[in-house]
Symmetry: C2
Subunit: 409 residues, 2 copies
């Protein structure tokens, strides 16, 4: 398959959308004073009625969304959200919480048969850090705060969450909780459920919050895990208290290449058995490897030099080696310098046992950052009439190879 | 307070217990063929009607348990448990799951007003390893398997769970899940909820189990967390699949002493901010420190030599230092040798910054193992008319000092 970059398929300039269905009694009682913004604008409604699935983006660009929200409301606080929920119950209005709109689970897709008025609740104005408690390693933030803003602002206090999902440029704290998000640096910082100490959850039957953001206790059932991954079904998250850690002393990137993907899997499996897990580690197959190389910032970049050197190395050192089979592994070690250097050495030594060739930190960082480009790449390809999709799955070690093969087919 | 070891208060030789209340229709339909053992013996009923709270042990030794179970049944399998649950529902019989009986939450205390027949379901005969999958780092075990048996048998496969609660000599897999147990080595291996991949849960409305023990997924709500910590309220766990790891290359113990408990807390806080968390770390105050020293295996032991040397060191080096204020810290680094040695060095260097004095591995191991003695110590003291209790709590760093002070008062 070839993507012709000259075939530029522009997205549509307009979209036909039904006029908003209004529940006048609800709107009247809600008023405008206690809500910072409410919007009936067509494109604001459209943009709040889809996630980031390829089907949704395709419809957005080329056809139409079957159903669009009736109004977008932006509460400023937990109190405003509570009032909104109370009135929605009273007037039988549908509420859809909205964070960054980056979900790939069709959670924002609206039921075309819905007869009630639909209100999308954008948490985007609850986007402040409320407090940072450095002594107890916690921070409380508004649920609408986006990943990149959160890390930037926390850094001013000398701390970070370390939560870095692919979507962190747009996705929000509330969204991470609602989707039980994982991050690329989870080996060091944990997933969202490991960071979450407390949250405020506005539901039709009351607002849930723990009196203290205590550490883990041997007690149950744990209600956090009902909300984690619930995709906005039971209520609206307005703020969350999460674990923070000191900004790491070092971020040490590294990369290695292996004969082929199968050898790479064996290496990854061996890494999982050590005591020195990298903060992030990622194995890319030959297709992705060559694709990454093709996204070169300029001719004769260091990346190309490296790829050429690697090819030569293999061709000269290992008879019969096929440069079109090579797989690459990118790593990040983030934390205290002593730990990072020691873990780095352990993992590189292990890689050499699998015939791995060190690719250096520049390529490691490049490979790591490429991850953030995946979604953009898909949308760029779509602009040129090529459909692609990225998705994540988890499976046992013994099924990794077979699963990858079947995805390729 | 002084415990006079000559005042030996023997526990009572007998206890008055009401005869078992029998539901004949239930017992008849249950039969005896499909159940390996059912017992109406008085002491078997008594021993299954209490946990390990000081109140329960006191009543057991000196007075009486207000209510005792009517029969103890030992199912052999999930199928037998399913049949038991079905018949209990049909005949309106109460079921109480029983693991190791080590809970300190009064979960086994029976309602004295209960009019229905009470059946205690001892999982002790479902105590086998079903399979070990070394490639995928998982093992499936019967819910009644006790901690020490589990680790011993897993070691034969070259793997371990690393779960080591104080009670692991008696407590069971099913009990750990039902109480959301933490272990002393959780920094390396995680708590029970981090290890749990799947389990079989027999409830009145059906048996729950995942089709595959998949790794973590970004999905929710997570039903595991309803059962974790549910104290046997919703059903009976019959087997569980947990994460296992290779048996560690090394177990490196260490100990340090500090001027006083407050300095020790500051050191612990600093440790929490490094990338080199020990597998286990524990700070003991002066009382516990001296108590530990008093449990010497023989006169002139190395422990006493160390304590004497430490006292001299402080008295000579630091003017005005009070040997009755010293606090001790015990640590364990468990894993690959490179990691263990590197982390050990990092933490010891950090300790020195807080004026810590290295106590050596022997005292570290001793301190670590002392933990397992705490429950026995309490029961030994009770035999000599002294009441004591041990309990665990978790609190934010800034409240550790105040909490400890109030407990002492």
């Amino acid at each position: 398959m070839k993507t012709d970059l000259d075939t530029n398929d522009d997205s549509q300039a307009d979209m036909e959308v039904a006029p908003p269905r209004l529940n006048h009694a609800f709107l009247e009682e809600l008023g405008t004073e206690q809500i910072s913004r409410r919007s009936f604008k067509k494109w604001e409604r459209i943009m709040h009625s889809h996630g980031a699935c390829v089907q949704e983006i395709w419809e957005l660009r080329n056809t139409k969304l079957e159903k669009v929200t009736d109004v977008v409301i932006y509460p400023n606080s937990t109190e405003e959200t509570e009032r909104l929920v109370k009135l929605a119950v009273k007037h039988d209005v549908v509420l859809i919480p909205y964070g960054g709109g980056t979900n790939v689970t069709k959670s924002l897709l609206l039921n075309p048969d819905e007869q009630r008025m639909i209100v999308t609740v954008d948490t985007g104005r609850m986007n402040q850090i409320k407090w940072v408690d450095k002594e107890n390693n916690m921070a409380c933030v508004g649920a609408g705060m986006m990943g990149q803003d959160l890390e930037r602002d926390l850094n001013k206090y000398g701390v970070c969450t370390g939560h870095e999902p692919d979507s962190s440029e747009f996705s929000t704290m509330g969204g991470w909780i609602s989707t039980r998000a994982s991050g690329m640096k989870k080996n060091t910082y944990g997933n969202i459920e490991d960071m979450l100490c407390n949250f405020t959850y506005v539901t039709p039957t009351g607002t849930y919050s723990k009196t203290q953001a205590w550490p883990r206790i041997s007690n149950g059932p744990d209600l956090h895990h009902i909300v984690l991954g619930s995709e906005g079904n039971f209520g609206i998250i307005t703020e969350a208290t999460v674990r923070v850690r000191p900004v790491p002393q070092v971020k040490l990137y590294e990369s290695m290449i292996f004969d082929n993907y199968e050898v790479g899997i064996k290496f990854m499996h061996a890494v999982s058995r050590t005591s020195s897990w990298p903060t992030s580690i990622r194995l890319v197959d030959n297709t992705q490897f060559q694709f990454g190389a093709s996204l070169k910032p300029e001719e004769n970049s260091k990346w190309n030099e490296f790829v050429d050197a690697a090819k030569k190395f293999y061709v000269t050192k290992i008879k019969g080696f096929d440069p079109n089979e090579m797989a690459a592994c990118t790593m990040l070690f983030e934390g205290d310098e002593t730990w990072a250097r020691s873990a780095h050495k352990t993992i590189c030594d292990l890689g050499k046992q699998f015939g791995g060739l060190i690719g250096g930190p520049e390529n490691g960082m490049r490979g790591y950052l490429l991850t953030f480009l995946i979604a953009y790449t898909r949308d760029l390809a779509m602009q040129h009439n090529t459909l692609g999709e990225s998705f994540e799955l988890s499976c046992p070690w013994t099924k990794v190879s077979e699963t990858t093969k079947r995805v390729r087919q």
